[in-house]
Every structure is written in C-alpha cells, then in structure tokens.
Symmetry: C2
Subunit: 924 residues, 2 copies
Amino acid sequence: MPSKSVYWFGDGRADGNAGMKDLLGGKGAGVAEMTNAGIPVPPGFTITTEVCTRFYENGRRFPKDAEPEQWAALARVEKSTGMGFGDPQNPLLVSVRSGAKFSMPGMMDTILNLGLNDQTVEGHARRANNPRFAWDCYRRLIQMYSNVVLDVEKEQFEKVLRAKKEARGSKADTDLTVEDLKGLVEAFKGAVKEHSGHEFPQDVKAQLRGARDAVFRSWNNERAIAYRRMYRIPDSIGTAVTVQSMVFGNTGPKSATGVGFTRDPATGERKFYGEFLTNAQGEDVVAGIRTPRPIAELENEMPAAYRQLKEITARLEKHYRDVQDFEFTIQDEKLYMLQTRSGKRTGHAAVKIAVDMVKEKLITPKEAVGRVEPAMIEQLLHPVFDPLRRREFPAVAKGLNASPGAAAGKAVFDAPTAVAWKDRGERVVLLRAETCPDDIKGMAAAKGVLTSTGGRTSHAAVVGRQMGRPSVVGCTAVVVDEEHRRATVDGKVIKEGDYVSIDGTTGEVMIGDVPTRDSDILEVMRRNLDPSKSETWQNFAALMKWADGLRRLKVRANADIPRDAEAAVALGAEGIGLCRTEHMFFAPDRLPIVQEMIMAGDEAGRRAALERLVGFQRDDFYGLFKTMAGRPVTIRTLDPPLHEFLPRREELMVEIAEMNARGQKGPELTRKETLLARVEQLHEFNPMLGLRGCRLGILYPEITEMQARAIFEAACRCAKEKKPVVPEVMIPLVGHVNELKHQAALVRRVADEVMKKEGVKVKYLVGTMIEVPRAALTAAEVAGEAEFFSFGTNDLTQMTFGYSRDDAGKFLPLYVSEKTKILPDDPFVTIDKAGVGQLVRMSVENGRSVRADLKCGICGEHGGEPETVIFCHDTGLNYVSCSPYRVPVARLAAAHAVLREDARRGEARKPATKKGKRMAGTRR
Amino acid sequence: MPSKSVYWFGDGRADGNAGMKDLLGGKGAGVAEMTNAGIPVPPGFTITTEVCTRFYENGRRFPKDAEPEQWAALARVEKSTGMGFGDPQNPLLVSVRSGAKFSMPGMMDTILNLGLNDQTVEGHARRANNPRFAWDCYRRLIQMYSNVVLDVEKEQFEKVLRAKKEARGSKADTDLTVEDLKGLVEAFKGAVKEHSGHEFPQDVKAQLRGARDAVFRSWNNERAIAYRRMYRIPDSIGTAVTVQSMVFGNTGPKSATGVGFTRDPATGERKFYGEFLTNAQGEDVVAGIRTPRPIAELENEMPAAYRQLKEITARLEKHYRDVQDFEFTIQDEKLYMLQTRSGKRTGHAAVKIAVDMVKEKLITPKEAVGRVEPAMIEQLLHPVFDPLRRREFPAVAKGLNASPGAAAGKAVFDAPTAVAWKDRGERVVLLRAETCPDDIKGMAAAKGVLTSTGGRTSHAAVVGRQMGRPSVVGCTAVVVDEEHRRATVDGKVIKEGDYVSIDGTTGEVMIGDVPTRDSDILEVMRRNLDPSKSETWQNFAALMKWADGLRRLKVRANADIPRDAEAAVALGAEGIGLCRTEHMFFAPDRLPIVQEMIMAGDEAGRRAALERLVGFQRDDFYGLFKTMAGRPVTIRTLDPPLHEFLPRREELMVEIAEMNARGQKGPELTRKETLLARVEQLHEFNPMLGLRGCRLGILYPEITEMQARAIFEAACRCAKEKKPVVPEVMIPLVGHVNELKHQAALVRRVADEVMKKEGVKVKYLVGTMIEVPRAALTAAEVAGEAEFFSFGTNDLTQMTFGYSRDDAGKFLPLYVSEKTKILPDDPFVTIDKAGVGQLVRMSVENGRSVRADLKCGICGEHGGEPETVIFCHDTGLNYVSCSPYRVPVARLAAAHAVLREDARRGEARKPATKKGKRMAGTRR
C-alpha cells in the first residue's frame, strides 16, 4: 500500500509541518508550517518526495495511484479560492515548484501561471480588468512551460520577442500593447510547434501533469546533480512538487512582490532587510531588469501590508528561531507569504547572529554552536577584499583555492626579491611555477602565493595554509616564466612589480591592486588590540567558548616555531600536535651545517656537524616549550629525504654539462662534481617511499641522538626554571614495531643521560606516527612500544591509495570530476573513510586493546577539515592537530561532532513519524 | 610439578625414541632409537630441552630439582659400564653434547673426556695400557673445557703447544712423548689460571656441571642465533644435553673413527659412502689434519666391524626410511654408533633419492614429495659450474644472489654489444651499473647479468629470473664504468672481452672462464631431447607428477611472449597468470609508434598511432593463446608510466645544455627540446605512485580500447580456428571500485563489438590486480565488479611498507641484518604475513563474501617462493603465478602445503605424548 502522496495546505490548516522536510521538501514543509500558524499563504498541496522516488522507479512515469489524490487536492484548492482550474470565467492559476529537503536555489525547474489557455486568458483578463496583464501571464507561461517541459530553447522565444519589439520600435517589454502580446502568444505557439513538434497544450490538466513530471525530471538535470555533489546532498532523497494557487504582484500599482531577510545576511546586523517592486512578478526582482527598491520604502506605499509583513516575519524568525529568508507578494493590497526559510549568511554574520540570538534568549548556546558551519569560522581569520571595490577588477584566471583569504601586492618571481621588496615596505604576491622549501622565506614575506602547478596539498598550498597566507595554486592559465620574471595570462603580461590580487577563498586571480584589509580577529591578535573593544572578537570568543564547553575532542596545532605557536595558542590550541624539526634545518644559518653533515663521508664527520646543530635545535625547542607553557608538544624526529637539503640534481647536471661544453675548469667545477656525486648517491626513484623518516634515524642513529639531546636539554632547562613542559617525541614512518623499538630505545637512553647530567626529571612520552599502512595493520604490536599514535593521514592517504600527492594533479581532477565520478572527494582534503579511515579505526581499536590509555591524534592536513574532525571524534581519537589558523574550525567542528552524536541518539529514540511543534500565533 | 628431566639410554633400553626430538633433540632421540633397536651405542642420558627452558627462566642457572635425577642417571651409566665417575682405578669418562630438535652442525659446544683429573688420568692410562693416549685425552679435556666453560681463548693453548713443539723440534702433535704431554698439561693448567682466574677443576662433578651449563649457554651464542635466523628455527625451542660414556677410536691400531652416508649426498647414487681414520678421535676426521681414507678400505683392516657397520647403517636407513649420515667409533675392534641422522643433500641427489626410495618401496610417493625442499628443485634447472674446476677461480666479490645458476662469458657493458657478440657466437656476461628496459635484449643475449646496484627485486633481478638468466645484483664492490667499458673490482680491472663468471646461487663473482654446463633438465627442454633417455628428467617428472597429485593450488606462469609460455608449459604451468602487455611495447618495431602515441597532442593523434599498434598486439596475443591451448591467459592492460617509453629526462637536459653552451642550433635541438617538453610534462616525483595502471586507461581510454580490441580479435580468431581460448583481462592498480567499473565497462563494450563483428562468442573474465592497499581494504566492493583478483604483491608490498623497491637497497640490507634485526626477511622475497598477508587474507575473505566463486591468485615476484606458496594455499587462493623457471618450485611447494596441512591435522588428533614406533630388528 503506497502511503499518502499529497499533502494539503490552505484555509489555516495543513497536513504537513516544518518537521516534515524529508517528505515535503523545504518549501512544502515551510508553507505547511506557515499555514498552520495562520499566516496568509495561497492554498495548494505538495506531492511528496516518496512519489518522486516512485516516479524514478516507475521509469520516469508518475505513479497511477497518486493521480486521484492529486486531482482531489486540486478540487479543494478550487473550493478554497472559489475559482475553477480551466474555468473560462474565473480561472484558477497555479504554480508548480520543486522543493527538496535541502535548499538548492535555482537548480531545478519552476513553472508559473499554469491553467491559462486561449479561453481562460480572457476570463483572467476580465477578472483582473487588465488584459495586458493577462496576456503577459499567458505568453510567460508558454515560454516557461515550453522550455521546461518541451525542451524548446529560451533563445527561440527571445528571437520572436526581439523581432516583435524591433517591429514596434520599442525597447522594454512593458512597451508592448495587448495586441502585441496577443500576436506574441500566437508567434510563441508557432515556435513551440516548430521546435518541439508539439502544440502548446490547451488542456490545463495536461499542463499540470507535464509541469509536475518536468519538475521531477529536473531532479536529475546536470546542474542539480553537480550542486548536490558540491554540497554532499544524497541523490536518493528526491524532490517534492508543490502546486500552489497563484497570487499576482503585477495586477497594478497596489500590488507588489519582494524578498527579504529578518537580519542582514552579510553582517548579521539585526535590521529588516530586503527589496521589492510594485506591479511585478517575483522573477522580475531576481532578473534585475528593473531595480528593486529598499523594503523600508514599502511602508510609505502600502503601510498596512508593510506592518503585517514586519509582524509576520518577526513571528517567523521567533518561531523558527533563525534568520528568515522570505518571499512575499501583495495582490491588490493583500499580503501573501510565498516562502520562508533559514537565510544563508557569511561567516561573520553567522557568528554575530548566533551570539545575538543567545543574548536575545531565542536559542541556547548549544544551538548557537550548531548554527555556524565550522568551515565558515575561517572567514573571520583571513584578510578580506573590500567587497565594493572588488567589482572593479574582473577575474583573469581561476586556480585552486588552496588557502583562503584575499591578498594583493606587486608580482615577484623569486623568494629573495619577495624578501627584499617586503623589507623596503612593499606588499608583494609571490608567483612561481611551483614552490619548494627554498621559497619559504619568500612565502613568509609575501601577502599571498600564486603557482601555476601543484594541487591543494602541494608545497605552496600546505605552507600557505600553515602560514595563513592566501594561496591560489595549480592556476594553469597563468604561465609563469621565472627566468624572465614575468607571467602571461589571458594574453596579458604580468611583469615584476605589476599589481596582482588573488582570492584564496575562490581561487580567482585579478590584475591590479584590489584593496584588502585584515580581518578583525587578526587585527586583535596581530596588533595586540584590546579584545573587549572588538565586537567581532567578543562574538567569536563567546561562540568558541560554547563550542569548547561541548566538545570532547582536543585541538592542537602543527607549529614549528614560537611565532606560529603563539598564534595557535591565541586561537585556542591545547598543544602542538606536530613540530617538524626539519623546518628548523632550512634556516640560512643552519642549512650549510646540515649540508656539511650530509656531505660527510663517515659517522665522525656527521657527528662533528651535528655537534654544531644541537645548540640551535635546543634553543628552538626551548622557545616552543616556553610558549606552550606546559601544554604537550609533539616533536617529530627528522623526516624528509636528505637530498631535499642539497641542490637539485638536474640543475647540477646541467651546470656541469655547460661548464664542460665551454671547457671551463677549476675548483668550482670540482665542487659541483663532488656535490653531484653525493646527490646522485642520495637520488631516489620514489623519494616518498625511500630513505626518510625513521629509516634515516636507523641508518644514522647520530641524527636522532642529536635531536633527542636537544629536546631533553631544552626540557631540562625549562624544568630547572620551574616552567612546566611536556615533550612527546614522535618517530615518523614506522612500518614495523622493531623500527620504533630501535628509535625509542635510543631516545630513552639519551633522555636518561641528559636528565642524569642536568639533575632534573622531566616526564615525557615516546610514540609514533601511523602513516604507513603496515603500521596500521599491525597496530597492536606497535602499541606495545608506542605511548601515543599520531595519524599522519597525508602519507597514509598517499600509500593507501598509491597516490603521490605531488603527482596526483595529473589524474585527481579527472577522478573527482563529473565526467568520471571515480571519487566522491579529493582524499587529500576529506579523509577517505572506507579505506584510510578503516585503517585509522583498526589502529585505534587494536592499539587500545593492548594499551588501554593509548593517546591517539591526527596531524595530517585533514586535521582541520570539519568532516574529518567529526570522523576523528566518532573514531574515539583524543585530539586533532591542524595549522594554527584552522584551530577555530577544528574546535567548532569538534563541537558539531557532539551535536551530530546527540542528534543521532535523539533520532534513535524518536518514534518513526513525529508531529512538528505547532507555530505560536493566533489562528484566524 | 616439573616433568621428567633426564632420559636414559643404554643396555638395549631407552626412555626416549625417535619421535621425541622436541624434548631430547635430534641427537638424544637418535641414540635412544638406536639403543632400543639393539644397535651398539655407548650408554648415557639426555637432559631435556624443557630443562634448557627452565635454565633460562632461572637466570641461566640449572634447576635444582633436576640435579638428583641427573646424578642418578650418571650412577646408572657407572653401573652399565662397570666404571666409576672420578674412580682413580677405573674411571668413567663422558662426553657432553648439545642437540636441538633441528640439526645445527657446529653451532653449539661439545666437550669430550670429562672425568679426567690428575688422579683418574693415571687409572685411564693403566686401563688402556697407553699412557700417551691417556695424557693426550687429559690435555684435550683441559683445552676444550677451559675454552668452552671458562672462556679461555684457544690461541692461549696453541701458543703453549707451539712453544712445546718448537722446544722439542717436533712438527706433529703425535711426535710428543708422554713426558711432553704431562708438561703440556701443567702448562695448560697455568694458562687457565692466568687467563680465567680459575683453576681447572679437579672435582669431576664440577666438570660435568660446568660443561652441562656451558652447553645450555651455547644455545644463545652469536653463531647459534645467526644460524637459527638463517634457517628459521625458533629461538624458544632450546637444546637438550646428552651425556654419554666415552668410547675411543684412538686407543691403538685396532681402533678407528669415521663418518659416512648410506647414499651419495651429491648425486644420490646408492652406494656406501664415507671416510675413516684409525687410531683417531672424531675431531681428527673433521679437522683435516690427517687425510681420512675411503670407507671401503675399512673392510680390509677390520672386516667384522666393517660388515657390522654396513649391516647396521643399512638397517638404520630402512628404519628411518631416509639417507643416513652417521658417526661411528671402533674401540679395540668393537663398533659403537655415536650418531645417525638424515643426511643433507643437493637438489639433484634429493630428487634421485626420493624417486629411488619409492621404487625400492621404502617410502610412498607422498613421502617422496615431502623429502625434496621446493627451493632445491630449482637447482635442477640452472646451469651449473663444474664443481672441480670451480676451485681454481677464487671469488673476487660477492653480491646478491638474485637469479640462481652459473654463468661465464666475456664481459660486455651494453646491450647492443651483448647482442652483437652473441650473434657472432660468443658467450657474454652483461655488466651494468643497473639495467633498464632498454637492456632486455642484451640480457636475453647474455649468459648472465651482473649489476653493481639494485636489490633482489631490481629490474635486473626480476628480468633475470623471468628469463632464467643467472644474475648477481647489487654487487657494490664491482664498480662499473659503462662509458669506458670497464669495471674495477678489488683493485683489478675487467675490460670489455675479459672473461667473468658469476654464480647466481651464491652471489659470487670470479674473474676468468669457469666451465659451466646446462642442467640435464634444460638440455632436454632446450634441445628437444628424448626425455626417456634422461634419468634426471625421468626422476624430475616422476616427482612432479606425485606433487601434482597432492596439490590443490594451481600454478601458472608470468609470461609475455610465446617462447616463455612454451617453457612454462613444458615445466608444468597451467595457465598464464600475468602477461605484461607493455613488454610488447618495447620491441624495436613498436617503440617508435608508442612514442608517437605519447607525443601526440590530442586524442585523434593518439588514436592514429594506436591504430598502427593494434595489429602487433593482436598477433602477440594470438601467439600466446595458441601456445597456451585453452589454458587461461591473464592479460594486464598497460601499466607503466608513459615516460618509461621516452628517453631519460636528465639525459635530454644535459644534451640540450651542451648544445646550447656550444651554440649549436638546428632541427636536432628543436626535436630534443620538443621531446624534453613532453618528458617534463610526464615527469613525476614518485612515478611509482603516479600516472600509471588504470589511471592511464581512465585518462586515455583509447589505450585500453586498443588493447581490448587486440585481445578479443585474437581470441575470436582462435575461436574461428576452433582453438580453445580463455582470456582473462586484468585491470591494474585499482584502488577504488569505480576505477574498475570504468575500465571493465570499456573492455566489455569492446568485447561485445568485436565478437559481434567477428560473429563468434568467446568466454572471458574481467578482473583486477589487488596491489593498492585501498583495494584490499575495500575488497568487498571491488569484488562486486571483479570476476577475479590477482594479488600484485610487489606493489602491495611497496605501498603497505612504504618501500620503493628501486630505492630500498639504501636501507633494506641494514633492516634484515643481524645488526638491527628490524625485519625477519626481505619482504620482497618472502611475503610479509602480518602486514601484506593480512591484506591478502582480508581481500579473499571479504571478496568471497560478495562473490563466492571469486577466483584468487597471486602474480607478484613472491609467487615462486616456497613459503609464500604455502601461505597462498593456506589463505585459500586458487593459484600462484611465477616466472616459468620457478613453476616446478611452486608445484612442489603447493604439494608441501598439503603435507603441512595434513601434519597439522595429525598433530591436532595426536595425544599429547606418543610412543615412537619401535625400530625393526632383533634385540640383543
């Protein structure tokens, strides 16, 4: 037995309510709720999403058994309005609209004015006493219906319309007379016949059936599928169809139509916000043909309707306890509400609204946390383009939006120039084909980074996010010619010193200096302003505090230097989850010593060089420990392959070949040849899978020894100074428990030696990164040795998928594209739950079966991605660690994980169907 | 309650038997069994391996409760021999020997002549009427005891002995008089005191305790641990200690001692085989100071003892139903058997002995299969060095024994020279720093391959095994200078044309032309000889047939061309498990077309080139199908990254730089620049994890299309010619089921098209390689699409461990070394059961939960490694696939898997202790 297919609303009563979005879609549930609350809504009915499912199961045909229900509901609309569908004297006109559970604005089809034909148009004209209006409605119906249902291109009608206007010498549609419109209708009908082979149906029931089925079909049009993919809306939920009696904002000067928000969706300010047009239909407001007027002006034109609108929308906001985005129509001074829904808003607005509503006692702090999408909070942290000025600069290219935020400055093409220009007070944007560790200082000096190659996890992207530098990467349209210090894009040349602006939030590239400004939050942090003076900071802090009260997952930051650690602490980090010691090796005062160590032919030579590095490292760690003031600091021993610290092999080969070809000789050639010989020794076909991580520390134990000494000397110094300190030494790239045993024994021995010498005791942990699949598969063994696991999901993803993240740009875009749909998401952005996630789950379970108190965290790029944070919470991890600027996102996402958990529990307790709470308000 | 610690043997009765090796060790069980069979064995007792375990649990101290049992047993030896331990008149002398379950020759300690001291030596002398003999025994005891128990270096005694001999002007030990020996004893006692700080114990009970404990301790000496590691003997099983009354082969001319085999251990020939010395102790035979005489000569000297020895050893062979390796002593014409055990033998001997014993009805065919270690069978296939001539050529270096067999020829340093010299009738050995696909023809032309870099799974090693070419790789001591066509090793220069010999079985490299010959099996196969004329072939075939009768696991071969397929079939392959289509792309008539395809800028250009390749591929597949005559043929679609088909990037860069530096211009420069531009586009940081496998087929579907067309056109041609054909199309590098869906749909579409066009139907399968961890983790999903799984354990190992097999040579040798003991085995040789094996198990289980008849096989390098084959059997795979020359190994290993399974079942059914079967023979 099929369940009820059609839900009525009208006459102050509705079958549905706001809780039934699954079945009635957002729109259907919204009008039902409003109807029940006594708000004036034109009557109608909603055909459920279940019917949509059956429509597809039935080979894209409307289920026969639902037809009678539909016509019965239509009869009830006729009764309620006193009009008849197809009645030549008093014709009922209806709209047919799509509406899924989640709003998908503009993605599916809508048809208005159904019920008009050659007969009813006359009755419509008589009734409105406005033939021009009626024939305009009719020609719009033919246009819309034939496009949506019969697949006639819009352009065909535009052509006819243009011809008609040219013939009349008129410019605007409104110049057309009734006779013109009648002629247009005939011409349109001819175009329909010509291009579809079908007549425009005069049978109004056929119109309704055709429109209804077309809306169901539009669920699977290309743009709807793409939208669902982007917003992770399941394909299976389907759309509802709402059939509603038409009201008209275009019957004359005492009619109007408009849209509005109960608060400002850009700033969150509590003010009545919207636009309207008199004598217009809804599409006119959206289409931008006429300029809508601010909603405040409606008060002068139609004071009663305006007051009623304000009163109703205020009630709606209170009822839904959220900002409402509403549509209304005034027909002959009578107000109808057509739609209401939660309004989309910017990150800034979301935070302000949520905090304000708590102050207004409209929502609880817990609900406020749920109102702000974790990813949105990041918008509060990144520099922003001045939105008004941005319009002056068209985008010339679009790359991957790797690190959000706005940046503008003079184009530079290498790191030294970036540093030099910045030092002389210039703002610069660094343009490179790709970046490498040598470019780090340049990236730090630049306002933003633009690369023509590389993906979202390329060096430029990772470091950009780490530093909070807006970055656009993989922007292939920009051809960077580093040698000649210029780039070309779209036929234009960007020379060194030309202004370039990039929007890391959208991936757009503009030529010119688009004005930007620091976000309020950053201003407070960076300029040490008084936070109590910044409302944004106050709201941000309040929301974060509520989130912290909810979440159980701890949030740490990945930071290598005290400055990053300070930012992380300011943004709420509870520890450092990953300090990459090799970043300390790239500093200009250390790199030559590191290179000396690598070039040394034996252990003694290496030890001599390491002896000169240990002081640097000790001071680095001391600085970090001091900044973190007793919060745990996880330090990873040396990880990258050694050749990363030496010049590039190909460059040396070419330089030597050139010198030889020119017959050049001398010590410089010898030096380069010696260097190349070592680089060749270290060369690897797949460095990602080569001599790095703990393999280095096992081959050259003296390196791990030096690092352990630096860590424990720094920790002992803190201890002597009575500064609390909690070092956690992390061994990377472990695949077999014996590797960890080897390195852990070494670290513990050095720790003992240093503590004995210094005469203080420091508590510390030794653990491992789980980033090699084999470590995850043998987690029970590894946990026997490890006091903590930290999931290095970057490498774990690389090895589990067999994707090199440096090379995956060649096929990953195709894989996540609509064309192949091989992968639902880029696995370097959102953790792959089925594969990588399964390894994480296995590791946690098996690890804790051996060591119940095993501390588990994640320190890969995924650590700041909301869906991954929620996965980490659900998997029972203790913490996530992410770049400092993503810490607030992770804190909020961790709170959302608790909210989702609560919702799941509530769902489990709830009976199968549930009556929605009735809206407050008097019934009329 | 500790169980019985001491097991008696003597007077024709023993507590133990041959079935108790676990508890009594091989030696203890052997003497017990012999004693029970009435064979003359000097009486004694065995302290069990359980006591050894308790010894270690007890902090390396002998368990107190076992002492009384031991002394009681000693008393019984005194009674049986009529002598007294420590009795000055008639002293009992005993030996103390180690003996674990598995023979570990020479690894642990043994002490003879215990019971001698300053008093008993006189009684011993009187009783033997031979003071010289008695004092020689005593000085040997002091030497041996002090070395083993008190850690005095052997050299200390040698020094004293040398001084004594010099003082006497004598050369041999036998020149020393009784007085000399008495002086030596005193000097030895002084040396003991000086170097150990202890006196040599005069208390004979202390001697026995000291010797016994030292034997237990020797279980964990370095060489014993290393030996166990090499032969995979568990550390936990411990050694037994056998205390046995001494008999002496050195009491005079009517005494003797010797060792022997019941059949020739080198050839398997059935003849009494051994050596003896009169008037000598066992160690003299082994030490090589005197030259032992052939055992046949014993018949003349002591005919009764000889007859008895022949009769007893024949009986032993019959009883143990295996070749016996025995030790005996004749004291004053009375024969004593000291030891018997199964004799170690070569592969050739193992096969002959097993088959002969079946003919002799001594063992069943099933037992015969169990008698030949799978790896040994390979010795029958590879060329062999003439063992006598080999001694003339000392090894100058040792590399990794990558592909077994012997090869000798003139050194060449590039592939074209190898081909040219071979064509003019020379034998050549190819020396390269490393090999690449360009070298394949050269490798095929060479007798053997020697590289200075690369591991056991390097290109040279893999291809060497595939081709059955003896190969030594990673031989760093040989510095290959390809440019100047020479190599240096150990200060010597090998020029082009100099003779070099390599032993792929041992990894040794010799300068010079060591004579080799084809094995009999290969001679039969390669020269199409009449197999019935070759006894080796007959024996080999018989054994293989019995193995085939036992095994359930199928064996296929990896083969790309008909010649390899023919060899595979001749060696028993039941199908092709992996045909690598890219190998067909490297042929000189195709490579230019492949390069054209890669250089094409668009799909149309690629299709044009592919159109010219399809005919080649179709003919290739047709040839394979025909050769395999209805056996399944698994064809993998294109796998390697495209840049492997183009010149090397660095070479192009250097060439262009040189041309530019010299100011050269012209079309050649332009051509190289164009080539480099494409090579740069294709360049990858980690090609192993880059654009290859199905990723290529998804990006360029036209490649998969062409290959599918070639496969099905060839298959249809076979079908039309009524030749049976079973193609299995395998999609490589799948990580997500959607990749397989994409490629499988394409293959099936092309198959339909071709079959429709050709008008015939061919049954085929589409499946995937499981080589990416994610595919294994999501095997249930993948099995929804795949009709078979083939485990590509090379790549699966690379990704699961995060080891690039091209680069792992930098650390893997350290990892498997004694120094770090990180890994028990090279995971590219023996499958890693805990990690990679876990993924294989998961895949099979989860895959079959979705598709019960899912065919599962393995096609990685591991497919021919016996332990892996057994793992595959245990995991329920349907087949293994390996290089043609390893097919017999795999067949035998698959049979062994069944034997092990039966043994486990038998073990499970067996009661906790079991009485061994009594040996046939009359009791005396």
